[in-house]
Amino acid sequence: MPFRTLLLTLLIAGCGSASDPSTGDPTFPADPLQTLTSDSGKLRVEVRTAPQPPTRGGQTVQLVVTDATTGAPQTGLALEVVPWMPAMGHGGSVVPSVSENPPGTYVLTNVELFMPGTWQLRTSISRDAALDHVVPSFQIP
């Protein structure tokens, strides 16, 4: 990454951490950007982004999914994520990739938030046919 781009990314990220898409190895801050409960109320989802807060362009997003009651990490989930701009009525052309590492922590790469506005990550969570949803939402300047 050119020095100017790295410097710019650091400035935009402020006190949060920066991601370097070229390495594919983002660093997430300790404090979550959001903590959400799934539609069923059974899952607790901590949302972190790199960079945090998210900026216009490509992001990496971390979802740490735990049992809302016991706090136990929820492993082996299948996540499908659709970036969506509800105020505009459209999403993006790129489908984010999902990987689980470490167990219970899901990392979304190729999250392209290409224009300013409110973006949702409309996420369906399933395991053994049981289906749940959570919708992290970001304001992109």
Binding site: M1, P2, T5, L8, T9, L11, I12, P21, T55, R56, G57, G58, E80, V81, V82, W84, P86, A87, M88, G89, H90, G91, G92, S93, V94, V95, N110, E112, F114, M115, P116, G117, T118, R122, S124, S126, L131, Q139, P141
Partner: protein, 469 residues
Amino acid sequence: MALIGSSGRARAQACCAGTGAVTPGRLSLHESALIGAQVKASAILGSFDSSGHYASSPSGASEFDFEQDVFGALRVLKRGQITLLVPLVETRRTNGGRSEMGGGIGDVNLGLRYDFTLAGASSIVPGIAALAGITVPTGTPPDDSDLGPLATGSTGIGAYQINAGLAVEQTFGPWLVSATVIVAQRTARTVGAGDTAIHERLGAQWTALAAVAYTFPSEIALAMSASYTIEGDATINGADAIGTAHRLPTLTLSGVLPLADAWRLQGAIFDNVPITPLGLNQPAGAGLLLVGLLAMGACTPPAAPSAIPRGSFTGSDGKAHTLVDASANFTVIEFFSAHCPCQSAHDTRLRALASTYAARGVAFVAIDSEVGASAARAQGEAAQRRYTYPILVDPGGVAARSLGADYATYTLLVDREGRVLYAGGIDSDKSHLRGDATHYLRDALGDVLAGRPVQRPGAESLGCALMLR
């Protein structure tokens, strides 16, 4: 400023050019069709967030939008016109060091306009028009999987859009004031399938536009307009998506430069007023627009009146006159407008015609049927224009109505018995006189003086709408 200072007499009537400054693809009076192209370039400079706060685009992020439109308009009824616009759209985005540019055919738009009344035709009733339109999703929506990560190949919204609106406008001498309200509804669209399918319908979108335009005697027009768009919350999968409403203000400065009666150039600069909290949930920017178009004139002459009113009218010479001069072999009656640039443009030709044909037994009279017609005005106008014939005063526009005179420079050629031999324009020019014009009235005079039937007994008159009430 010199133009403004000298505009006291021959002020341009705003309806002739001012409407074009506000609505580029619209047919003016007497135009039956037009084709044009416009080029638009804009930059997204920031955005209003979901609380209405405006923030400039962050460093390293930019978006430039370009559009080239081809459009055409066709008059399908005397008061109705249809417009088709085909856009070519390009976007260049830079985010986080990555740049991408793409584009293609955008969403094609079909618009309808019907004018119930015309601006300037009455001092009481303004011009009122109904608007309707449909935008067809011929473009590529941003979530098309074939697009790049920055979706710059997106050229459309992915849904049909139906518009309906009402426009009210009125002229005050060279000024045009207009107000338009349009409501748009987009059809729902479904993206994805299965558990992640999204079925969204955007909220109804209302746009209010107010504009004021000034037309100079040269028919150059300048306009300033302000629009405000408000959109309600969307629904996603049947539930209201709270916080998705929009607001966006836009200020526009525009102008029209008529190159000839048929050709005109138009331009505009616009800005989405980056003031918190005027906007909501919208990118905001600024840009410019350039339009060139070629308009074609009408080809349907008005029906000739059957009888000439027999009453007498006070003339600019202080005497009482009848419309038909019994002492002449033929009389030319020209409907006059003090404010119409088409009238002023033809003064020289009218003087020449009157002078040429006076010796051959042809009398000329002009008649002022517009609101404000008076003996004093007629006297002043006849003197300033150096007419060798009188301007008659037609209080209330009675003669104009009975003779079907809707536009300035409408001319009748009648014989001694009051039979109408020709009805229509003086010639084929509007306000830019050309050497190759077709001289309808002169040709008709040539025919009748030679004892021939008039070859062209009617033609369209291209002057401003007469303000009769």
